[in-house]
């Protein structure tokens, strides 16, 4: 059995770890609240631009934008994968990567090739090791990413789509359901397909485009894609913090359990030592 001093040092070191994890838990909790606020702040834009795209689908423009049309054949697909920059957030990133890999495998079984673009340090170091075509990456966006930090990454994929190097584009990120639940999500960005028809817009009409339809639609759809990606990134940050908070809470609890167990072992060892000493003294006295 380990001696008393050894166990005491061990308990001390676990206590230190526990202090760190509980501090990290509190930091993550406060960051999560901020990330949630940010998520709420960015939602109006993505809602509004989504509305405009919906309206657009029921206008009758003479110019059909390629982003809104399905291609006949899909030979190559692109993924924009959003991950966190840092680890210690439970299985968040790994679960997401597993889902993506499953999807990628299903696509490549059908003979499609895959281009990958990563946002976040973890995704880039994960996909760098894999035999996939990594075309662009962004990392270290921080806790409050700006929308224009993403323009470059998105443009690489949009250019690829424009030039026919990819035929559809997917966004992969964690969706924030609530603090306990984050869901990995694969969302199709291109070709964009608006869903529900609305009655008030069903009559024949069209916008006045200034300067012209192609110019305006180009800009609008690029912004639409960017806003979707940005929303994904912001949500992923909220997920990261929530997941880290839970992971650190578990770690703190586990450390507590470990300390309790060790304390018990320590007490037993101490008691055994005392008992032994007494019996030695008694034996000694009897011998005299």
């Amino acid at each position: 059995m380990a001696s008393g001093k050894e166990i005491r040092t061990q308990i001390g070191s676990i206590k230190n770890t526990q202090k760190i994890t509980s501090a990290m838990e509190m930091v993550a909790a406060s960051k999560m609240r901020k990330a949630q606020d940010r998520m709420a702040a960015t939602r109006p834009y993505s809602d509004k631009i989504y509305n405009v795209i919906q309206h657009l689908a029921f206008a009758h423009p003479e110019y059909k934008h390629p982003y809104l049309q399905d291609r006949e054949e899909t030979k190559r697909v692109g993924y924009i994968i959003v991950s966190s920059d840092r680890g210690l957030c439970g299985g968040l990133n790994n679960n997401l990567f597993k889902t993506v890999l499953r999807d990628i495998r299903a696509k490549s079984d059908k003979g499609m090739e895959v281009d990958v673009c990563t946002i976040g340090q973890k995704a880039s170091s994960f996909f760098r090791r894999l035999p996939v075509n990594l075309v662009s990456q962004t990392a270290q966006l921080g806790d409050a990413p700006r929308a224009h930090d993403l323009i470059g990454t998105v443009k690489v994929m949009l250019d690829a789509y424009n030039e026919g190097r990819i035929d559809s584009l997917y966004l992969v990120f964690n969706e924030f359901v609530n603090t306990m639940t984050q869901e990995d999500k694969i969302l199709r960005l291109l070709p964009a397909k608006p869903e529900k028809p609305s009655e008030e817009l069903s009559h024949h009409w069209d916008y006045i485009y200034e300067p012209d339809a192609k110019d305006v639609l180009d800009d609008l759809l690029v912004r639409y894609i960017e806003s979707q990606v940005y929303q994904g990134v912001v949500e992923n940050i909220a997920c990261e913090q929530a997941s880290r908070m839970i992971a650190m809470k578990n770690a703190t609890d586990n450390a507590g359990d470990l300390i309790d167990d060790l304390q018990l072992v320590y007490n037993k060892a101490r008691q055994a030592a005392i008992t032994q000493e007494i019996s030695e003294i008694v034996a000694g006295a009897a011998a005299v």
């Binding site: 929308a147 470059g152 916008y207 485009y209 200034e210 110019d215």
Partner: protein, 141 residues
């Protein structure tokens, strides 16, 4: 009561204005536009400049936008403001940067501010100055 339209001004990072207005004025790429209720549907790009909202109580609010899009439906006006000024060359530079990052994943990131970015900042600053000047004149009246 006069006719009103619902106006939403949003940027990618936050909601800037939402409410009823009698009219909206914005600087579109083809020139200044004034939108009154029941305007025909329109979709246009905006220049860096100000968006003025004339509220139904006669007050006027000004917002500065660095380019964006304006959508007009008969009863709703939506301004999708960009947070950064967009120009083809700036976008190109950003795209190039993202590609290079992928190629040299381990390469340290030296911050190079190129000409395009400086120009972008200049145009933005000028437009901001103009908006401030206007606001000042308005107060002096």
């Amino acid at each position: 009561m006069a006719m009103t339209i619902h106006v939403d001004i949003v940027s990618a990072e936050q909601e800037i204005f939402s409410g009823l207005a009698a009219a909206v004025f914005a600087s579109a790429v083809e020139g200044e536009v004034g939108i009154y209720p029941r305007h025909t549907p329109m979709l246009t790009k905006l220049k860096p400049g100000e968006v003025r909202v004339l509220k139904d109580n006669g007050e006027e609010e000004q917002f500065y936008v660095s380019s964006g899009m304006l959508e007009v439906q008969p009863h709703v006006v939506t301004v999708l403001a960009d947070t950064a000024l967009r120009a083809a060359d700036v976008d190109e530079a950003a795209a190039l940067q993202a590609k290079q990052d992928a190629e040299k994943a381990l390469h340290d990131k030296t911050d190079k501010r190129d000409f395009a970015e400086a120009q972008r900042e200049l145009v933005e600053a000028l437009a901001q100055l103009r908006a401030i000047e206007r606001a000042r004149k308005g107060k002096g009246r």
